[in-house]
């Protein structure tokens, strides 16, 4: 039987791996930037100080949907201490009828409209104007003095309602890209994309088990603690400097250049320490405002910091969604057919992560017959931004809940079912890509063999749930520069933002490559002029792509050193061998430090590398959660949680564990506590950290992070991206555990206590909250 052969193949593949003996990679050194972070010395974006600084505030729309008839800033400008007031009129305009823009112009229009509303406000909190003044107090007063005449329009807040013919239209320029064809009339559906293969209808007819369910998820926010901030200086010579907490200085430079219609080279982005991001600090919000206010104020530096209410109202949370998943399986437990419809709200401007969601939905599994329809829909909420594996946790919640139900109907253990269907090398995934060497099976086995899974769960109202997940990961462009110092130390200038400890991981790569102590490598984050273009730290790419760049820059330094030593020793460079930190030729020997002292005096040794890896290996994870539910109150307690994830190779072991644990915590919040709640008029009701509830230390147990290493053959160190996938399977694992505990399945996120009570028949049915 094919299934038995497959099971045998799985077990023989898992021989002991030939592990290279790393000295530094895989260990847990203290990070060089750690001292400043535990003493309060580290300078974050919000801590920026400059002489002569002005303070900015933004005026934001109280309405979810309204036409702007007029803006009167006279009284604000007249207030003593006010140095600048800007509106959309101060942004470059786009020629042509706003209702009929070409794609590129429309994209730029959307970018500018989000910075400052142009003719309409599209969500509660949409920026309308900004001021700069000599104190925050004066700036706040000035904002109150700006008069805006709004014509309030009916809002649409729900993704399904927004798709209806009769829904209010947000953007007159928006035409649906319907399977490649542009629609005639404007509506709120930005695009409809379909992925299909085989004949799912026929396969469903033949299936032994079919499960078809619908799901709804609420808007959730990345919840980074440091609010958005930007300090900008537009100098009188037209050179602009922006100090900001960002995931990508070069990407943001491009955005600002486009929004302000100027060459990017005139803009220097200085990376401050970042107090959390998770995808929410890729898009610019305050940076262009800081620049404009600086210019208008007479070229003085201007600092803007959002309040937390503004963060929740007006940055980039992730989509609320409607998802339908239908899965068919045969009696042997193989998935034979799948159908899914995903409708994601993009907030006010197009570009939700619905395609990512569609692409990951069932990608852990081999499926020959499927049709997946993905709709990107605008609604009167803030434009969505990326949140840790964008579009994935909610899609995974839907798919893995249905898989769990299929397992239940077949009477199969959830791990065995997933092993039976798991993609392996050579299998074609749903998004069409053929798998290279990947580690999904290893994560399933790691969970199956783990003491957590091996220990039966006993007690009433207790349950266990399993979920697996896939995430693409990203390669992207990375640049680094390294300079060898005469004392044998190496300064490593990194283009990538360090959100959580990547600078130490990258330093470890260089130290390992050069055979020197970690302390001899000095990693620094370069500003946008000091280092080449580097895509933002997102997409689980930095350890992978910047790690590759650092490895290659190390190789280049070695080559250069060997060449110089060859000259010095009078031998051809090819005869100079470098191994375990020692250069040798014949009887000659030098350590890296000795060589540096000898050869850098003549002429410095500096190397710069840019990479753009084209083959990116995806991430897979399997999680198991034990919960206890209080059937009288609907309260869920997480008793135990184990996450297994294939990371290829862990550079800094604690960093990788930390990514896994942090992703799990965010997933718990998404699953149980978090969700935007809007009034009928479209005002965000829970825009503070009291009522936007994120997990506290008391809501979580220890989180067992099982680091599985199936080295990535397409990376010199075997690294695979690891940062995003930890969040993806969490809501599903918890939902499946709640089902195991109560016998009821919840189809809505968050699985709040009220909804759990309703699921077990207590209390009145609740409507999906608008959010």
């Amino acid at each position: 039987m094919a299934e038995e052969t497959r099971a045998n193949e799985i077990s023989t593949e898992l021989g002991p791996a030939q592990e290279p003996a790393f000295k530094i990679i895989g260990t847990r050194p203290v990070r060089p930037d750690g001292l400043d972070k535990v003493t309060g010395r580290a300078v974050y974006g919000i801590d920026m100080r400059l002489p002569g600084l002005l303070y900015g505030k933004v005026l934001r729309s109280p309405h979810a949907h309204a036409r702007i008839r007029s803006i009167d800033t006279c009284r604000a400008r007249a207030l003593p201490g006010v140095k600048a007031v800007v509106t959309a009129a101060d942004l470059p305009t786009i020629a042509g009828d706003p209702a009929h823009l070409d794609d590129a112009s429309f994209a730029l229009y959307c970018q500018r409209a989000n910075i400052l509303a142009i003719d309409k406000v599209l969500y509660h909190g949409h920026a309308v104007a900004a001021v700069a003044a000599t104190s925050l107090q004066v700036a706040e007063e000035a904002v109150r003095l700006i008069e805006v005449d709004y014509e309030v329009l009916p809002p649409v807040l729900d993704v399904v309602q927004a798709m209806r013919e009769e829904a209010p239209v947000l953007l007159p320029s928006l035409r649906t890209d319907e399977l490649g064809q542009k629609s005639e009339r404007p509506n709120n559906i930005a695009s409809h994309v379909r992925m299909q293969r085989g004949d799912p209808q026929q396969a469903f007819r033949e299936a032994a088990v079919v499960v078809d369910r619908e799901f709804r998820t609420s808007t959730v926010h990345q919840g980074y603690l440091e609010p958005q901030t930007a300090t900008g200086l537009w100098n009188s010579d037209g050179q602009i400097t922006i100090w900001t907490s960002t995931q990508g200085i070069h990407n943001q430079r491009q955005q600002i250049a486009g929004i302000l219609a100027m060459p990017a080279t005139r803009i220097k982005m200085v990376p401050m320490e970042v107090g959390g991001a998770f995808g929410g600090k890729i898009r610019v919000y305050l940076e262009p405002l800081a620049a404009l206010l600086s210019r208008q104020s007479g070229y003085r530096p201007v600092k803007l910091v959002m309040t937390y209410a503004e963060v929740l109202q007006a940055t980039g949370p992730t989509s609320g969604s409607y998802i339908r998943v239908k899965i068919g399986a045969n009696a042997a437990g193989c998935i034979t057919a799948a159908e899914a419809t995903l409708a994601y709200d993009a907030g006010a401007l197009p570009g939700s992560p619905v395609l990512d969601g569609a692409g990951i939905l069932l990608s852990p599994y081999k499926i020959e017959n499927f049709q997946i329809d993905a709709y990107d829909v605008v609604v009167n909420k803030p434009q969505t931004g990326a949140y840790r594996a964008p579009g994935s946790a909610n899609a995974n919640f839907a798919a893995e809940s249905v898989i769990d139900e299929v397992c239940e109907k077949l009477g199969m253990d959830p791990i065995e079912f997933r092993l039976r269907n798991a993609v392996q090398q050579g299998d074609r995934r749903i998004d069409g890509t053929v798998c290279g060497r990947v580690g999904l099976v290893e994560t399933l086995l790691a969970i199956r063999e783990h003491p957590h899974y091996q220990t039966p769960l006993t007690g009433k109202y207790r349950g266990r749930g399993v979920a697996s997940a896939f995430w693409f990961n990203w390669g992207g462009r990375s640049s680094v520069t390294a300079a060898v110092n005469p004392d044998g130390g190496v300064s490593l200038v990194i283009g990538a933002a360090d959100l959580s400890g990547s600078r130490v991981a990258l330093a470890m790569v260089l130290a390992e490559t050069l055979g020197i102590h970690l302390q001899a490598v000095k990693p620094v984050l370069g500003d946008s002029d000091a280092v080449g273009y580097c895509d933002q730290t997102s997409g689980s790419r930095t350890a992978f792509s910047s790690g590759l760049a650092v490895y290659e820059v190390g190789q280049k330094l070695i080559q250069e050193m060997a060449a110089r030593l060859g000259e010095y020793w009078g031998v051809p460079p090819a005869e100079v061998v470098f191994q375990d930190g020692i250069f040798a030729a014949g009887a000659e020997r030098m350590t890296f430090a000795q060589a540096a002292a000898q050869v850098t005096g003549q002429c410095p040794i500096v190397a710069a590398i840019s990479v753009h890896p084209q083959v990116v290996s995806p991430a897979f994870a399997t999680h198991v959660a034990d919960v206890e539910v209080d059937p009288e109150t609907g309260k869920v307690t997480i008793l135990r949680y184990t996450a297994a994830q294939d990371v290829g190779r862990a550079l800094h072991r604690s960093n990788v564990e930390g990514q896994m644990q942090g992703g799990v915590a965010q997933g718990v919040g998404w699953a149980l506590y978090e969700g935007y709640v809007y009034s009928a008029e479209g005002r965000l009701l829970n825009c503070n950290l009291l009522d936007y509830r994120m997990p506290t230390a008391l809501d979580l147990p220890m989180i067992d992070a099982v680091v599985v290493e199936v080295p990535n053959p397409d990376h010199p160190l075997g690294v695979r991206g690891a940062g995003e996938i930890p969040i993806v399977p969490v809501p599903a694992a918890i939902a499946n555990a709640i089902h195991d505990a109560l016998g009821s399945r919840l189809g809505m996120l968050p699985m709040s206590p009220a909804r759990i009570l309703e699921a077990i028949g207590v209390g009145q049915p609740t409507q999906p909250e608008v959010g």
Binding site: T39, L225, E273, G275, G276, F278, L700, M702
Partner: protein, 171 residues
């Protein structure tokens, strides 16, 4: 607009300090602004995240919910007052060893809160640590390594104050 100024005297991180503030300024505003102690962070603005934690007259408080004027005559410890030239506090050291921080923005508040905990209860259980730190949000770590670091620091401190007699009985 009222621009009345109040002169406040307090002891901050062991030093006598005098500052002028408006009545509406919070202690957090003053610490980060007038006094330049930017280790104390402002995040949620309403007492729900703990990033602004300081110890005031021996009590852990959210400095965003204290007026600058209320600091008159008080003894205040911020993150800048934990550890010093003689070395890091064991909590700081253990946070580094356990990698109990990722972005680090919550870390000053968590360290101040943890210090207040160990001053109050030198031998907390895991649950007691979690309950004490429930007012300190961290979005990066999932709290696992934070809790381990605090428990490890408690053990380290306990060992370092063990009476000499115990040591010699082992040797």
């Amino acid at each position: 607009m009222c621009d009345e100024t109040i002169l406040v005297h307090a002891q901050i991180n062991g030093e006598e300090v005098a500052f002028a503030c408006r009545p509406a300024q919070t202690l957090l505003d003053v610490l980060r602004g007038e006094l330049g102690l930017t280790g104390v962070k402002e995040a949620c603005g309403n007492g729900n995240c703990g990033a602004c934690n300081v110890i005031m007259n021996g009590v852990l408080v959210n400095s965003c919910l204290v007026l600058g004027a209320e600091a008159e005559g008080c003894t205040i410890t911020t993150i800048e007052g934990i550890g010093g030239p003689e070395g890091l506090h064991p909590l700081q050291q253990k946070f580094l060893e356990h990698a109990a921080l990722q972005c680090g923005i919550c870390t000053p508040g968590v360290l101040v809160a943890a210090k207040a905990l160990l001053d109050y209860n030198p031998h907390p259980s895991e649950q007691q640590v979690r309950r004490w730190l429930a007012g300190n949000l961290c979005r990066c770590t999932g709290y696992d390594k934070i809790v381990r670091a605090v428990l490890d620091a408690a053990d380290t401190i306990a060992l370092s104050v063990a009476p000499v007699a115990e040591v010699s009985s082992n040797g």
